[in-house]
């Protein structure tokens, strides 16, 4: 197996989960409803736990300990897509991002349940099952608010259009894409993007929202190769503050 290709794939997935998990946690105590506060906090915990399990797989492949990897890298060493590092904005943007991202994640881990790397296949079966709660949550709110009032529809529509170039950045192809596919590690970003587009269109089709024309959207790439927006480093500084002060602290 091409270990470099596998490591690259695991890093971008783990970094996506960690960074969006951190963004989700910023809703703790701030949610528009108590129930949404709990939902985003729970999804944060799931995502950070899942990132830890992926960093653990990386550790077994010879990379550093999960805490070291999570807390000591700078923005340029992270492989998450720019989409997940964007600030939460208002609730409508967080909800749209949650919907677009988790729809892709659920399909990604379903595809990875057939990967040739067995420890990842086993973990993916588990994560896929948990993500059903995330997509259930996203779909329920998108369908309700996407067909509710002029304000809710208008806000979601605006966020959907703003999010879409970044959302397509999730599928930035890897320089090792060929190896990843030919070795049966993953069917590839193109297959994932096609399936994602179908699922997104199917849910949006049940609302009064309008999908922008895919052909007119320029994907925002760069995150997978460490070229990030100005938003990532401040997030990392906050996330790693305690660790940097006292690397042996336990909490």
């Amino acid at each position: 197996m091409n270990t470099a290709a596998l490591i690259e794939l695991l890093y971008k997935m783990a970094d996506d989960q960690l960074i969006l998990g951190h963004r989700n946690s910023e809703w703790t105590g701030m949610g528009p409803l108590l129930e949404e506060d709990i939902a985003f906090s729970s999804m944060a915990q799931d995502k950070i736990g899942q990132s830890h399990a992926l960093y653990q797989l990386l550790h077994q492949l010879g990379e550093q300990e999960p805490d070291t990897v999570a807390f000591t890298r700078n923005a340029g060493q992270f492989h998450n897509c720019i989409f997940v590092e964007l600030p939460n904005g208002e609730y409508d943007f967080s909800l749209i991002r949650h919907f677009l991202f988790d729809t892709a994640e659920a399909i990604r881990f379903e595809m990875l349940s057939r990967t040739s790397y067995k420890p990842l296949a086993e973990l993916s079966v588990k994560i896929r099952a948990e993500l059903r709660y995330h997509t259930l949550h996203a779909n329920t709110w998108i369908k309700q608010l996407g067909s509710a009032t002029r304000e809710s529809i208008g806000r979601l529509q605006h966020s959907l259009e703003a999010a879409m170039p970044y959302a397509l950045g999730m599928f930035e192809p890897s320089p090792l894409e060929k190896e990843i596919i030919s070795q049966g590690i993953f069917e590839g970003e193109v297959v994932l993007r096609e399936r994602w587009m179908n699922t997104v269109a199917q849910v949006i089709g049940q609302t009064q929202l309008t999908l922008p024309d895919w052909k007119l959207i320029n994907p925002v790439y760069g995150g997978r190769s460490g070229k990030h927006s100005e938003h990532l480093q401040p997030l990392l500084d906050e996330m790693s503050e305690v660790f940097r002060i006292d690397p042996s602290a336990e909490w």
Binding site: E35, I38, A39, S41, S42, M43, Q45, D46, K47, I48, G49, Q50, H52, A53, P119, E122, L123, V125, K126, I127, A129, E130, R132, Y133, L136, H137
Partner: protein, 161 residues
């Protein structure tokens, strides 16, 4: 001392879920394999949810219990070879959950594409199904929040996965 799987299981029945102190790790179904090699024991465990923060505590409790029973060498490996599903909770475990006030997940395999199972969960107080799902997320990763329209009280369910 002749170690047997039965003996180990009996000891592990004393180790409870730290958040649900009436439910043993064995009944919860997170002990997935026991390997005995003369005086040493190798236990495999898997979390209910990948991000479960209680896992390390449970791992240490397993080691402490077996050490107390006189096992010289215990090691615990966490993996996903037999991923946890709610089907792994034993009948005893389901009874313990209900007694504790938590609705058990439905018995048998859960087809999660069909999330209707989350609506009309039987209330652990009155057993009625005149209930509503309030939130698929709850106070811990493994619980959802429901409301019984007859008791006019909220309750939690141990989530099916």
């Amino acid at each position: 001392m002749q170690l047997t799987e039965e003996k180990i299981l009996e000891w592990l029945h004393d180790v409870k879920d730290p958040e649900i102190p009436v439910l043993s790790l064995v009944d919860l179904g997170i002990i997935t394999d026991i390997n005995i090699n003369a005086e040493s024991v190798h236990i495999e465990m898997t979390p209910t949810f990948v991000g479960c923060p209680a896992l390390d505590m449970m791992k240490n409790d397993v080691i402490a219990r077996l050490t107390k029973a006189g096992v010289n060498h215990v090691d615990v490996e966490v993996n996903f070879k037999k991923a946890w599903t709610s089907e792994r909770i034993s009948e005893n475990g389901r009874k313990a959950l209900k007694k504790f006030g938590l609705a058990p997940p439905p018995a048998g395999k859960v087809l999660l594409e069909d999330l209707d199972i989350l609506e009309h969960v039987a209330c652990p107080r009155c057993d009625g199904t005149n209930t509503q799902l309030k939130n698929p997320f709850g106070p811990t990763l493994c619980r959802s929040i429901h409301y019984c329209l007859d008791c006019k009280e909220a309750f939690e369910q141990f989530k099916p996965v």
